[in-house]
């Protein structure tokens, strides 16, 4: 059953700024949707429009079939976890979680029951009488989630909830959020700028760029078949090597001296892409091209090699190669590489759309 | 941008008390003053006559008014400079000491709480020519102290009483300013071989200049408007006109002299001066906010 529907939803600010032209999205019940994009892409605005904290300029938002555009945030049966948690500093953990229920006029014993259930689920039982300032970052994060959970809403909204935690805690909370969401089965809309977080959490991802949904799909869809160079560069780390080229009868002409053979009916300017992990080390005779090594980053489990494509006219486009295990090639030496056709991504330079394989 | 509530009528309800009080007790009287300044009214308020700018013309041709302006300037700058110098000295010392800082602070700030009129009375008895210990001591030292008769001495008395009350304020702000000077700068200067005295004048004092400027404005405003009680309780503007400041003159001409038109014209001039000072203060504060 479809739970949340955004139909041609758009946002224009009073000063005329067109933040979001039009977004279509339908979310299934229990689905975990992640909105991801660079800062300023409109992902938070979109989330806040669903929350009712920003008005919807055009289009319609429906939750369980009911139009929500004009409803107050409190009437939408949603709960939100904020980036800075937004815990009431003068209230205890218990009061923070109970406040929304009290405002809705719920009976006191029922509130107590709900709060203690949720607190037990999140391991907060011991902390109920503390004030937010007496809690660690991770604990605050849990209280913020608890506050959302006691309300038992139709939809959870998360606005970059992990960005204030340190790296280790972030990984831990990521796993925890995913587990909780599975267990509760609540439809979730989650905003982040971190593509790793997005990939690991999402059932489906929405990649936003300048207020437009560039692509909507499962993490693997986006990884395997990015619809645009923007998505290709955004998903995956280190990001995909993208090089401007020309598609001719001979194949992909990267420079005067370098053409990778391919037969394709498209002609003209393209963007050619290959992920760093798909490049393979080869020898001078079998290689497609050579890389002049500029820097080597050894991470133990893998090695990242930064260089420039070597042509007769000097160094060409920058490229990153990702090899598993330790490697120690000399800086400034040449590395011979093959790029298997299977892993190529071609995009029309003009329309920025993926070319059919 | 702050998050707001969507209600449209409620904010008016919230603002109503403040706006009502402001309209009735601020804007209406100000408008009245403006109006009265263009009329001549007899002492009983029975008749009045429109006379245009005559009240202002009379004001600006009255040597007493210029004298009062001069008195105000001398008084205000004396209060500001004497008060700030003493407070700075004490603040620098308090910043130096490690033990008893809080006790010193406590014992120096309480005069802030004393009403200006009471401050005036307290200093009056010390300087009373017939019985005050300081006056008697001055007499034995050869100074013929009588602030009832000597205008300059009367001025000194109100300056002392006004300054005394304001030292605490200056002290607190200077101390806060001094404590905000980065230790590393002073340490760097010490390594460069600057003596404590030199360090103060070349490093600390220039860094205090925003505080100093701020205090100068605040002190001038204080001396202008809040010292009414000091003057009224001790010298009543005398002897002659020697301690009649502009604010005291508005009151005196209006309530004692019953020259309502002239007093209103003075009110209007004062409002313009306060407006100007407020703008300066506001500008400065805005800049301070931007920089910090």
């Amino acid at each position: 059953m479809t739970d949340v529907i955004l139909e041609k939803v758009g946002k224009t600010y009073p000063n005329g700024y067109h933040a979001i032209p039009s977004v279509d999205l339908s979310i299934e019940e229990g689905e975990f949707i992640v909105l991801v994009g660079p800062s300023g892409c409109g992902k938070s605005t979109l989330l806040r429009m669903v929350a009712g904290l920003e008005s919807i300029s055009t289009g319609e938002l429906r939750i369980r079939g009911e139009r929500m555009n004009e409803k107050e945030p409190a009437e939408r049966d949603i709960a939100m976890v904020f980036q800075n948690y937004a815990l009431y500093p003068h209230m205890s953990v218990y009061d923070n979680m109970a406040y929304g229920l009290k405002n809705r006029g719920m009976a006191k014993n029922l509130i107590e029951e709900k709060v203690s259930d949720v607190a037990a689920m999140l391991g907060l039982t011991e902390l109920l009488q503390r004030k937010p300032r007496q809690l660690s970052g991770g604990q605050r994060q849990r209280v913020a989630m608890g506050r959302a959970m006691v309300r038992d809403p139709k939809v959870f909204l998360f606005d970059e909830p992990l960005s204030n935690l340190d790296a280790k805690l972030r990984v831990q909370m990521r796993v925890e959020i995913r587990q909780l969401q599975r267990k509760l089965g609540t439809t979730t809309l989650y905003v982040t700028h971190d593509q790793v977080e997005a990939m690991t959490l999402a059932d489906r991802l929405v990649v936003l760029n300048k207020g437009k949904a560039e692509q909507i799909g499962t993490p693997m869809d986006l990884y395997n078949k990015p619809a645009t160079p923007f998505v290709a560069a955004f998903i995956g780390s280190p990001s995909m090597n993208l090089i401007d080229a020309n598609l001719t009868e001979q194949g992909i002409k990267i420079s005067e001296a370098l053409t990778l053979p391919l037969s394709h009916q498209h002609r003209g300017g393209i963007v050619w892409g290959i992920r760093p992990e798909h490049l393979e080390v080869s020898d001078e005779h079998n290689a497609d091209f050579a890389l002049r090594i500029l820097a080597v980053e050894s991470l133990g489990a893998e090695t990242l090699i930064h260089g420039k494509v070597e042509t007769e006219l000097g160094n060409g486009d920058p490229m990153v190669v990702r090899l598993s295990g330790p490697h120690l090639p000399d800086v400034n030496s040449l590395m011979w590489l093959t790029a298997p056709v299977l892993h190529w991504h071609l995009f029309d330079a003009k329309t920025q759309q993926r070319l059919r394989d | 941008m702050t998050v707001t509530f969507p209600q449209k009528g409620l904010p008016w309800l919230l603002l109503l008390p403040q706006l009502l009080v402001t309209a009735i007790f601020f804007l209406w009287p100000a408008e009245q003053a403006l109006e009265q300044a263009f009329y001549q009214e007899d002492a009983f308020g029975l008749s009045r006559e429109f006379i245009g700018l005559e009240n202002f013309a009379a004001l600006f041709t009255d040597p007493l008014y210029y004298q009062s302006m001069l008195t105000t300037l001398v008084f205000s700058f004396s209060v500001a400079i004497v008060g700030m110098s003493l407070a700075l000295l004490l603040a620098v010392m308090a910043d130096r000491v490690i033990r008893g800082k809080l006790a010193y602070q406590t014992l120096l700030i309480w005069p802030y709480a004393v009403a200006p009129a009471l401050a005036g009375v307290l200093w009056w008895i010390l300087f009373d020519p017939s019985m005050g210990p300081i006056a008697l001591w001055l007499k034995s030292a050869g100074v013929d102290w009588n602030h009832y008769l000597n205008g300059n001495q009367a001025m000194i008395l109100v300056v002392i009483a006004s300054t005394w009350k304001q030292i605490s304020y200056n002290f607190l702000f200077f101390l806060a300013g001094l404590q905000a000077v980065p230790r590393s700068l002073i340490e760097a200067a010490a390594i460069d071989g600057a003596s404590p005295f030199k360090r103060f004048w070349t490093i600390v004092f220039p860094l205090l200049s925003p505080t100093t400027f701020f205090l100068l404005v605040v002190n001038l405003v204080y001396a202008f408007f809040e010292t009414f009680g000091v003057i009224d309780a001790t010298t009543k503007g005398g002897p002659g006109q020697s301690t009649t400041t502009l604010v005291y003159k508005v009151f005196n001409d209006g309530f004692v002299g019953l020259d309502l038109g002239g007093s209103a014209a003075q009110s209007v001039v004062l409002m313009a001066i306060v407006g100007l000072m407020t703008v300066i203060q506001f500008r400065f504060i805005e800049r301070k906010v931007q920089y910090s």
């Binding site: 709960a79 939100m80 500093p89 | 509530f5 802030y112 009403a115």
Partner: protein, 282 residues
């Protein structure tokens, strides 16, 4: 300090002690003067050490009458001063909280105009517009009344600005969270905003209490009935008797009693006082 210079440390302490002595001098003298009978002052100088008439003088002014033409006892005028000070303080805080709330958390037409109208009150201290304000209050029949003593003084741009500043520093997410939790404007005001502004309110309370207690010119003008005399202004009435008849011991005792409450507040709540002073000048 950086170098250890004992003589400098010594000089610092000495300067501070001298400063304290200078600041305390007039109060010391007043205290001494209040312990002598009125006749002691005719002798041509104020005695420099305590006398033995202190208890009598203080008892008289406090419970019988302040003397020098003022027949009201000090405790009664203290009550009036307290009513005026608290009326002004609570009034200022209440109307400033409300108007700052309206200005920060709502968007409505003429919002900036309202802000400027409130701002203008900064430019119109009561001393400047004294004559017409008196007339307005007289026209409203508020002379010799507690309303007349307090109401004209409770509009406050300073307090409004302070609360505005304080409200602006409250994170927007907190407001959003409250809206999500179903809190309307009033609930938000009482449940979230007031508790979060507690220390600011307390600090301002200290400053405004001193301001209210120390009012001089205004009560002097609008009270002619001793039932409404406040302590600070009564000094002026006491000084108005003919020179030779001034009972200085009673005036000094009254003066000390008049400054006692606000000084006690400053010393007892020093931290809040300093905070209030610094906040209200921002």
């Amino acid at each position: 300090m950086i170098e250890n210079r004992p003589w400098l440390t010594f000089a610092s302490h000495a300067t501070l002690l001298m400063g304290i002595a200078l600041v305390a001098l007039p109060v010391w003298m007043a205290l001494v003067a209040s312990t002598h009978p009125a006749s002691a002052f005719g002798a041509g100088h104020i005695p420099l050490w305590f006398g033995d008439a202190g208890a009598e003088t203080w008892g008289t002014v406090l419970f019988e009458k302040a003397g020098n033409g003022v027949d009201t006892p000090v405790w009664f005028m203290m009550l009036n001063s307290l009513i005026m000070a608290l009326g002004i303080t609570f009034g200022k805080i209440a109307i400033s909280l409300l108007s700052a709330y309206a200005i920060v958390f709502f968007r409505f037409p003429f919002r900036n105009l309202c802000f400027w109208i409130i701002f203008m009150t900064l430019m119109l201290p009561v001393e400047v517009r004294i004559v017409p304000t008196y007339e307005v209050v007289a026209n409203l029949d508020l002379l010799n009344s507690y309303t007349g003593l307090t109401l004209p003084l409770i509009a406050s741009a300073t307090a409004t600005f302070l609360f505005r500043q304080c409200f602006l520093s409250i994170p927007g997410e907190l407001v959003e969270a409250a809206r999500m939790d179903g809190a309307g404007p009033w609930r938000f005001f009482f449940d979230i905003l007031l508790p979060l502004s507690r220390t600011n309110i307390a600090a301002l309370f200290v400053i405004l209490f001193i301001y209210g207690w120390n009012q001089y010119l205004w009560p002097l003008l609008i009270t002619t009935d001793d039932a409404y005399y406040t302590l600070v202004m009564s000094i002026k009435r006491m000084l108005s008797v003919t020179d030779g008849d001034i009972a200085w011991n009673q005036i000094m005792a009254t003066t000390l009693l008049a400054m006692l409450p606000p000084v006690a507040v400053v010393i007892g709540m020093q931290k809040l006082f300093v905070k209030g002073l610094v906040d209200s000048e921002k």
